[in-house]
C-alpha cells in the first residue's frame, strides 16, 4: 500500500496519479470478470458478486475520464477491453433457465401469442384453404392422393380401400405395443416440421404458408378418403384427440414464421433490422411454446388415442384440449410477460 502511495506521489503526470489511485478497483473487477469467464461463479466471494455492477460502473466512468484526460494508450486500451468484458458479464444472459421458464408460462407465452394474432388469423385462413385444396384435388382425381400423402408400405389408407379396412386403421389399436416409441418419434418429427415452418418465415413468410398449405392438403385428402367410406365423424374424432393440440401448434409455428416475414417485408417506420429482431424475439417465445405443445400432442397421440377407442371420448379429449389452449392464450392474462424480464424493474 505504501509502495502505491509512494508511486502516486512520485508520478509526474496527473493522468498517472489518476491511474494509480484507481488501479486497485480495476484489478478487482478484472479478477471477478476473469473468474466468471472461466465459469467459476461459485469461486467468487460473497462481497465480490454484488460489487460487480458497481465496479463495472466505476471502471466505465474511469474510462470516460481517461478518454478526456489521458494520452496513455496502454491504459486506455486496457480499460476499453476491461469494460467490454465486464459489459459481457453484466449484460449477459442472467436469468436462469428455470426462472425464464416460470415467466414464460406465467404469461410471457400467451402474451406473445396474442401479439401475433393477425398472423394467426392469416395462417388459419391459409390452413383452411389448404384443407379445401387437398379435398378438391383428390375428389377431382384420386391420383392426387398418392402425390399428397407419403406412401407407406402396407398402408390400408388408399383410395378404393374398403370401409372395414379404413375403420380398422382408426379403431382397435389399443393393444398395440411400442406406442411410447411412436410418440417420441412423432414429437421429434413434428417439432422439426414446426421449426421449419417458423424458420422459413425468413423468406418473407411465403414458404411458411406453402408448408401449411401442403400439410393441410394431406389432411384434406385423407378427410375425403374417410368421407367416401362414411367415416367422417370417426376420422375427425381420431384426429381431434391430438390434432387440436398439434394442428394448433403448427398453426402457431406458421404464424410465427409469417410474423417475421411480415416485419421483414413491411418494417413500418422502424429500421428493418430492428423491426425484424423485435419480431424474431416475439416469435421465438411462441416457438418455445410450440415445442411444448408438440410434446403434449405426441403424448395424446401415442397414448390417449389408443386407450380411448370410441369417437365420443376422443372428441371430449380433443375438445377440452382445444378449450384449454384457447383459454390460456386469449383469456389468461397472467403477468403479461413481465416476469420474463423481471431483472429490469418496472
Amino acid at each position: 500500500m505504501t509502495a502505491t502511495l509512494d508511486a502516486i506521489e512520485s508520478a509526474a503526470l496527473r493522468s498517472d496519479r489518476f491511474r494509480l489511485e484507481r488501479e486497485a478497483d480495476w484489478k478487482r473487477l478484472e479478477a471477478i470478470v476473469t473468474r466468471m469467464e472461466k465459469g467459476r461463479i461459485r469461486g467468487i466471494s460473497d462481497e465480490d458478486l454484488p460489487a460487480l455492477p458497481g465496479l463495472y460502473r466505476t471502471v466505465a466512468s474511469s474510462l470516460s475520464i481517461a478518454r478526456e484526460t489521458s494520452l496513455d494508450a496502454a491504459t486506455l486500451a486496457y480499460l476499453e477491453a476491461l469494460v467490454q468484458r465486464a459489459w459481457f458479464v453484466v449484460y449477459g444472459p442472467r436469468t436462469s433457465l428455470w426462472e425464464w421458464f416460470r415467466g414464460f408460462l406465467g404469461g410471457g407465452w400467451s402474451a406473445a401469442v396474442r401479439a401475433i394474432w393477425v398472423d394467426i388469423l392469416i395462417a388459419f385462413a391459409v390452413m383452411v384453404a389448404g384443407t379445401a385444396v387437398g379435398w378438391l384435388l383428390v375428389s377431382h382425381d384420386p391420383e392426387w392422393y398418392f402425390a399428397l400423402v407419403p406412401k407407406q408400405f402396407g398402408d390400408a389408407r388408399v383410395p378404393g380401400a374398403s370401409a372395414e379396412a379404413l375403420k380398422a386403421t382408426i379403431f382397435g389399436n389399443s393393444g398395440q405395443n411400442g406406442m411410447s416409441v411412436f410418440a417420441a418419434q412423432l414429437f421429434s418429427n413434428n417439432a422439426q416440421v414446426s421449426i421449419l415452418a417458423f424458420a422459413l418465415g425468413f423468406a418473407f413468410g411465403v414458404p411458411s404458408l406453402l408448408l401449411l398449405v401442403h400439410n393441410m392438403a394431406v389432411l384434406g385428402a385423407m378427410l375425403w378418403l374417410y368421407n367416401g367410406a362414411g367415416l367422417t365423424t370417426d376420422f375427425a374424432g381420431w384426429i381431434a384427440v391430438h390434432g387440436t393440440t398439434e394442428i394448433f401448434a403448427i398453426l402457431l409455428a406458421g404464424a410465427a414464421g409469417l410474423h417475421i416475414g411480415r416485419s421483414l417485408a413491411f418494417p413500418g417506420r422502424r429500421p428493418v433490422l430492428q423491426a425484424t429482431a423485435q419480431a424474431g424475439r416475439r416469435a421465438a417465445l411462441v416457438m418455445a411454446g410450440v415445442v411444448l405443445m408438440l410434446v403434449v400432442a405426441a403424448l395424446l397421440e401415442g397414448f390417449a388415442r389408443q386407450l380411448v377407442d370410441e369417437t365420443a371420448g376422443r372428441f371430449a379429449i380433443g375438445g377440452s384440449m382445444l378449450l384449454i389452449w384457447l383459454g390460456y392464450f386469449f383469456a389468461f392474462r397472467g403477468n403479461d410477460g413481465h416476469a420474463a424480464s423481471r431483472d429490469t424493474p418496472r
Binding site: A12, A73, V181, F202
Partner: protein
C-alpha cells in the same frame, strides 16, 4: 493479439457499441474464419456426443441385433428397451436443437467451439442478451444448416434437381454473412444479436512512473528538460508511436527514433543515453498535451495546429 493498443489497431471489423450507460466501446466483429472454425468444432463435439451416447445406450441394451427383436416383443426386457429407445430419440433431438441453446444461455454466452475460437455472442443494441434472442438465433440454425444437410444426404446425387436445390439452399445461408457488413447470419438478424471477438488486454505498467522511478535510482545525474518550442513539434499520434517504441524492447528502433527526434528539435545531448532521453521527452510531451486537453486544446499530430 499484439500488445498494440486497440485504438491503433483499426481494422474493417471494428465497430463502436454504446452500452446502456452511454459509454462508447470499441468492439471487433468476429472474423468469418473464426466463426466457421467454431461451428466446425461444435459440430464435431455434437457428433462425438451423439456417438458416445448412442454407444452407451447400445451397450446398456446389449447389442444392436438383439435390440430390434426385443423392441417388438412384449416382455419386461422389451419395455426397458423401449424406454432406452425413447431416451435415444429425445437425446438426438436435444443434441441437435439444445446444444447451442444451453451453452449460449450460460454466463459465457458461447458454445465450447466459440470459446476455443475466442468469440462470443452479444446483443447488437448494447443491451442485455436475452433468452429470446438466443432461442431465435438457434431455431434458425436448423433451417440454415441441419435441414439442407439432411436434405442433401437424402436427395442423393442421382436426383439432380433436388441436389441442386439443397446445395443452393445450403449455400445461400452459409454465404449470408459474406453479404453484410457485420457478418450477420440469418439467425443473428432475427435475434438482433452479433458475434464479437473476446477482448484480451493486460494492463501494462505506466510508462512515465515505473521506468521514471527506476531511472531516478540508477542514474540521478542526467536530467533532460525540453522547452515549449521543442515539445510543440509533435502531437498525439507521434506520442503514441513513441509509446509503442518505448514499450518494445528493440534498441535499434529506439536509436533511429532518437535520431529523428533529436534532429527535428535540434538537440544532441542524449548521445548514448537514448532511452532515457526519449522517456523524458515522452513524459514531458504527454504532460504538455494532457494539459492542453484539459483546456480543450488537442493536437492530433505534427501537421495539425493546436486549436
Amino acid at each position: 493479439m499484439t500488445a498494440m493498443p486497440t485504438r491503433l489497431r483499426r481494422s474493417s471489423r471494428d465497430r463502436v457499441l454504446v452500452t446502456p450507460e452511454g459509454i462508447a466501446l470499441p468492439v471487433t466483429v468476429a472474423s468469418r474464419g473464426a466463426r466457421a472454425g467454431a461451428l466446425m468444432l461444435d459440430l464435431v463435439f455434437i457428433f462425438l456426443l451423439i456417438l458416445g451416447s448412442t454407444m452407451a445406450l447400445f451397450s446398456i441394451a446389449g447389442g444392436a441385433s438383439a435390440f430390434m427383436r426385443e423392441v417388438e416383443s412384449d416382455t419386461a426386457a422389451g419395455h426397458v428397451l423401449q424406454f432406452i429407445f425413447i431416451v435415444w430419440i429425445v437425446i438426438l433431438f436435444l443434441f441437435r436443437n439444445a446444444y447451442f441453446l444451453f451453452f449460449e444461455l450460460g454466463p459465457r454466452g458461447a458454445t465450447p467451439g466459440k470459446r476455443l475460437a475466442g468469440i462470443r455472442i452479444a446483443a447488437r443494441d448494447g443491451g442485455r442478451l436475452s433468452a429470446e434472442m438466443v432461442i431465435a438465433r438457434n431455431l434458425l440454425r436448423d433451417v440454415e444448416l441441419f435441414l439442407p444437410l439432411v436434405f442433401l444426404a437424402s436427395a442423393g446425387v442421382e436426383s439432380g434437381a433436388a441436389w441442386l436445390a439443397a446445395t443452393g439452399w445450403f449455400l445461400i445461408f452459409m454465404l449470408f454473412p459474406m453479404f453484410n457488413r457485420d457478418g450477420l447470419r440469418a439467425g443473428d438478424i432475427i435475434a438482433g444479436s452479433w458475434v464479437l471477438e473476446r477482448p484480451r488486454q493486460k494492463l501494462e505498467a505506466a510508462m512515465s512512473v515505473a521506468r521514471g522511478a527506476q531511472t531516478a535510482v540508477a542514474a540521478p545525474h542526467r536530467k533532460y528538460h525540453f522547452d515549449d518550442a521543442e515539445l510543440a513539434v509533435y502531437g498525439e499520434y507521434e506520442l503514441q508511436a513513441l509509446e509503442r517504441v518505448l514499450r518494445g524492447k528493440r534498441d535499434q528502433s529506439i536509436e533511429s527514433v532518437y535520431q529523428t527526434i533529436a534532429a527535428k528539435i535540434g538537440r544532441n545531448d542524449g548521445w548514448n543515453d537514448e532511452r532515457r532521453f526519449l522517456e523524458a521527452y515522452y513524459t514531458q510531451l504527454r504532460a504538455r498535451l494532457e494539459a492542453g486537453m484539459r483546456m480543450g486544446r488537442r493536437k492530433a499530430d505534427k501537421f495539425s495546429d493546436e486549436g
